[in-house]
């Protein structure tokens, strides 16, 4: 909290100064900024008097947000998290084999949603069918362990028991209590109490009374793999009311699931039990792991709805499965190179370097690729990536209105006006449908009085991206006519004009709305539920830190995990 609090205090002043400055320079009544101004504006932010390590601003005037005043719902493991748990609690070959056989229910399709994440608490509730699938999966995995018992038991039983292949039932019986304690602690991410060991062992004993030791052990594994302590991440904290602190083990668990989508390692659990446990230091270590890029990639896929590609038909001739899979990987790779390793949100949205693979090289207009970064001159940031552009081209056709509306609503977190019921959607366009370019075809929507109020908000965004076709390939013409990507738009109370898609994307990449929205979505992702109104100050501080200090994405994560938003929660009144 200290780091972020300091940052927030400094940045609040910086924001006030910057806002005041913008008010003079960018007052729409005085001057209309162009895209070229965006760079200059950013330069002010980057090189101004207040940076992340800058000084000179008094700390006392603006109190730091506490960061948490709301309830954090209990989270259930997603399928990915369950599978990462299997890999964590079982030795490597066994864990991988179990994952290959697992049919743990995935989160439902999110086709009807425009926001939210698959790991949200509300997206991982359990229906009757889910419950049955979870139990059936546990039984199926336990059956596999039973079939592999002569391999699995020596690997899993405490070394002190000396269990080898072919061990007698008596040997297994004697070892079972210590096995329950050892395995349970890994599965439940905390030590088991004596009472818990006794209760679990009683179940083993009950089955053992009529069945051999290996069968009883498989029932035990069936239980562990469906046990609520494994499936859920309960947080009890320290304290009985109001804002309470998580225990160090609970912080470690949040950390691990946030950054690696999996449970804490034994090393992290051990660290959490030491007095010098530092969430910041542990976060830095975890952020360096390959798993971090996977998590950030998922965040971006689900925020930008690139995950819509998952629904593409295997038989699709337009987007063959290999291309689809490469596109789904693209944001993970971009996360690795642009967000992590010293990158930033701004870098992600303004980069001209993209991971080009053999499958995506034709989309980038490149002769080939091996997955490494290539400078692509006609791209600007993640919103020009083939992954994003293809995902927002339903049925193989890009739709400027939809692309533009999506950018407004989901990427900039703006509310769109209501479409009146019964409005004539087709009539205004009837005379323009055979015109060669989308701009011409859609012109009536921005010239008619009954349409333009809304369409001037999002048409310019979508039309600027017309330089990219449904597969995200750059094109200069449509039906033989040059594409005009220029436009004007209102953004955060200011009007901007741009001549090319590149200029628009620079404006978006530098816009306050985008960083505000990113902070909101990220906070939602972290806590598994939408931001509550009381949390706005904290989220705003995150956005300011991201936008105006030049802080790396990693530093923002490190700041966040030290904040009360991450290490505390609000206990409901009984």
């Amino acid at each position: 909290m200290a780091t972020l609090g300091l940052t927030v205090r400094r940045l609040s002043w910086a924001l006030l100064l910057l806002t005041a400055c913008q008010g003079r320079i960018l007052d729409p009544a005085v001057a209309r900024p162009t895209a070229a101004d965006a760079g200059a504006q950013q330069a002010v932010g980057d090189g101004g008097a207040v940076g992340r390590d800058g000084g000179g601003i008094a700390d006392a005037e603006v109190p730091p947000p506490r960061g948490v005043v709301a309830v954090v719902p209990i989270r259930r493991l997603s399928a990915t998290q369950f599978h990462n748990t299997l890999r964590s609690v079982f030795p490597a070959p066994l864990g991988d084999a179990l994952v290959a056989r697992s049919t743990f229910p995935a989160a439902g399709a999110r086709a009807g949603q425009v926001s939210g994440f698959s790991s949200d608490a509300d997206n991982t509730t359990v229906s009757t069918a889910d419950a049955a699938a979870i139990e059936d999966n546990a039984e199926q995995l336990a059956d596999y362990l039973f079939a592999q018992a002569e391999v699995a038991l020596p690997l899993l039983m405490p070394a002190s028991c000396g269990v080898a292949a072919g061990a007698s039932d008596a040997t297994l019986d004697a070892c079972m209590p210590s096995f329950i304690g050892l395995f349970g602690a890994r599965a439940w991410r905390r030590p088991l109490s004596t009472t818990e060991v006794t209760r679990v062992h009683a179940m083993y004993t009950r089955v053992r009374a009529e069945q051999p030791a290996r069968e009883a052990w498989s029932a035990l594994m069936q239980y562990f793999l469906a046990s609520p302590d494994l499936l859920y991440r309960p947080e009890r904290g320290v304290g009985t009311q109001g804002v309470v602190a998580l225990t160090p083990l609970e912080v470690a668990t949040r950390l691990a699931f946030l950054i690696t989508d999996g449970p804490p390692s034994e090393a992290l659990m051990a660290a959490a039990q030491r007095p010098d446990f530092s969430p910041a230091a542990e976060a830095r270590q975890l952020l360096a792991s390959p798993a971090a890029a996977e998590v950030f990639g998922r965040f971006l896929r689900e925020w930008l709805r690139v995950d819509l590609l998952e629904a593409l038909d295997d038989q699709s001739a337009t987007v063959p499965p290999a291309v689809r899979d490469a596109l789904l990987r693209e944001l993970t790779d971009l996360s690795r190179t642009q967000l992590l390793g010293g990158g930033s949100l701004r870098a992600l949205f303004l980069t001209d370097r993209f991971p080009v693979t053999p499958s995506t090289a034709p989309l980038y207009g490149q002769p080939g690729g091996d997955g490494s970064d290539v400078v692509v001159s006609d791209r600007r940031g993640v919103l020009s990536s083939p992954a994003f552009l293809t995902a927002h081209a339903p049925a193989g056709h890009q739709v400027p209105i939809l692309r533009g509306a999506f950018l407004r609503k989901q990427v900039l977190c703006q509310t769109l006006a209501t479409l009146p019921a019964g409005v004539d959607l087709e009539g205004p366009l009837s005379g323009a449908r055979n015109l060669p370019t989308a701009r011409q075809r859609l012109e009536p929507t921005t010239t008619r009085n009954d349409c333009r109020g809304c369409h001037t908000q999002f048409n310019p965004l979508g039309l600027a991206l017309e330089n990219y076709d449904a597969l995200g390939r750059f094109r200069a013409t449509e039906n033989g006519v040059a594409i005009d990507a220029s436009g004007e738009l209102e953004l955060g109370g200011e009007r901007w004009s741009f001549a090319t898609a590149d200029e628009l994307l620079r404006v978006l990449g530098d816009s306050r709305l985008l960083t505000d929205c990113a902070a909101e979505r990220w906070f939602h992702f972290v806590l598994g539920r939408p931001v509550q109104p009381s949390e706005r100050p904290f989220v705003d501080a995150l956005a300011v830190a991201s936008r105006d200090t030049g802080a790396t994405a990693e530093q923002l994560v490190v700041d966040l995990v030290q904040s009360e938003a991450f290490t505390h929660f609000l206990r409901e009144q009984p």
Binding site: D122, S127, S227, A311, L419, P420
Partner: protein, 500 residues
């Protein structure tokens, strides 16, 4: 497939005392030509509304004729209540729910808004509703749907809580899909099985209880039951010290685990004819991938009808998925759809419904008269309802020539009224089968023949849900008839429609 008399029959005998009373009441009432509480509720849902003037009958009351879209219901006219022009008023409480699709499917059978539209403790009350906040149209609805509420009320000793089957229009659809319309609890959608093989296996699989297999199966079930017992105990332990909302979430999961323990006692019954194949735990939709919705419906409808007639569950669901570009299996619709898909602009069923123009021939899908393929597409869903009614009417249930339809309330619903404007106003419903005193052979119009889409209806779709609750005599926590399903404290959602 022949009748298989095993444990199911035994269970029916053993449970006869529990089940006999409502059965005898229903039989007695039927014999006297009276209405009775239906034994089951079957919900048929599909996305994207309709063309209103080709869907609702030409006149109100009892003297009406069906227009083109609802004409397949003609054989069941005397057993049908058509409800038109009711508004899904609750949607108007949150601005985020106005635009496009989000929140509307989830709202229509729950009578409430998405959970993210609630502040405070997020309890499902009017006072907690946020008028407008980014993202408040996401996360699933804030309460269960009427089918789940009815199901809990009339479950009795039936082995399944519900039989949920789906028909997907996507070629690549996998097995289980989360319902867009039906929710077991706040934000918890019902899992709907779209793979006929798996749906068949779940409902009709027999357990071989003979010889050595019997002992192995008994031992397996003993292990599973032991593990499940401990899982349930662990839920009780885990909930201690957690926030109340977390406890409720865990309790819901634990209740479903309890249900699994009950479901372990599988039944066998009369199964439908048809090539349902063998379910695979890992394969996707094969061999059903290439089937149209019409062909998939032809498998799922008999399956659902038989499962209902076997009394396996108090609730059945048939849900049609894929509003974007379904493969109907109807020449007129598919030809138009295919032509549009190969054209230079993106038009598909979704585009047809919303009034886009075909880039091929410029044919508009709105206005008068509507395009033939649009009417045919919408009629498809009504035809599926009629097929289900026919399948139920063909299955004997009870004495005196009664059929499964005599004991079933079947409801057709969608998320929109007129599909072209994403309209949550002027919705329509069909109630058919056993309506327990509600009028049949009747068209109830909530706003009048000439009501346009800007005129408020006097009735809300939540009142349709209350009407369903009354048909099943569902009671609230105090034992009084349930007359205010959905969002608590919302006056337009109180009361039933005047159809009794």
């Amino acid at each position: 497939m022949t009748m298989s008399t095993t444990r199911r029959r035994f269970l029916r005998g053993a449970g006869g005392a529990m089940l006999a009373l409502p059965w005898l009441e229903a039989t007695h009432a039927r014999a006297q030509g009276m209405s009775a509480t239906p034994r089951r509720l079957i919900m048929v849902s599909y996305p994207m509304g309709f063309v209103r003037d080709e869907w609702r009958p030409t006149a109100t009351g009892s003297s009406f004729t069906f227009p083109f879209i609802t004409a397949p219901l003609e054989p069941f006219k005397a057993r049908t209540l058509i409800i038109s022009n009711v508004d899904n008023k609750v949607v108007s409480l949150n601005a985020q729910h106005h635009f496009g699709h989000p929140g509307k499917k989830e709202s229509v059978l729950t009578g409430t808004l998405m959970r993210a539209a609630f502040s405070g403790d997020r309890s499902n009350t009017l006072g907690n509703v946020i008028a407008d906040q980014a993202g408040s149209d996401v996360g699933g609805p804030n309460s269960e749907s009427i089918c789940s509420r009815v199901g809990r009320a009339i479950r009795g000793g039936r082995p399944f809580g519900s039989i949920d089957v789906g028909v997907s229009g996507e070629a690549n659809e996998l097995s289980e899909v989360r319902s867009d319309f039906c929710f077991e609890a706040a934000t918890t959608p019902v899992g709907v099985q779209c793979n006929p093989a798996r749906a068949f296996a779940r409902a009709f699989a027999n357990v071989d209880m003979s010889g050595g297999a019997q002992e192995a199966e008994r031992r397996r079930l003993f292990r599973k039951k032991s593990a499940l017992d401990l899982v349930r105990d662990s839920f009780r332990e885990l909930r201690a010290g957690l926030n109340g909302s977390d406890q409720r979430r865990l309790d819901e999961h634990a209740a479903r685990v309890r249900q699994i323990e009950i479901d372990i006692v599988r039944a066998s019954c009369t199964a439908p004819m048809g090539n349902y194949g063998t379910p695979s735990p890992t394969a996707s939709y094969q061999p059903f991938r290439q089937l149209s919705m019409r062909e998939r419906g032809a498998l799922m409808i008999p399956l659902l009808a038989h499962a209902m007639a076997c009394d396996l569950a108090p609730v059945g669901r048939l849900e049609f998925f894929d509003q974007q570009n379904p493969y109907f299996g109807l020449p007129v619709v598919d030809a138009a759809r295919n032509a549009w898909r190969t054209a230079a602009t993106p038009n598909d069923w979704h585009g047809m419904v919303h009034g886009d123009a075909s880039p091929v021939d410029g044919v508009r899908t709105r206005g008068a008269p509507p395009a033939a393929f649009l009417l045919e597409g919408y009629r498809f869903f009504v035809q599926q309802l009629a097929d289900l009614l026919g399948a139920l009417a063909a299955l004997p249930e009870g004495p005196d020539g009664q059929t499964a339809l005599d004991h079933s309330l079947v409801v057709l619903s969608s998320d929109f009224g007129n599909g072209d404007g994403h309209s949550s106003r002027k919705l329509g419903f069909v109630l058919a089968g056993q309506l327990n005193g509600a009028r049949t052979g009747y068209h109830f119009d909530g706003a009048g023949r000439n009501a346009d889409f800007y005129t408020d209806s006097a009735y809300s779709s939540t009142q349709v849900l209350n009407t369903i609750a009354r048909i099943f005599d569902v009671r609230d926590g105090a034992g009084a008839p349930l007359t205010s399903f959905g969002l608590e404290g919302y006056a337009p959602g109180v009361g039933t429609l005047p159809v009794f």
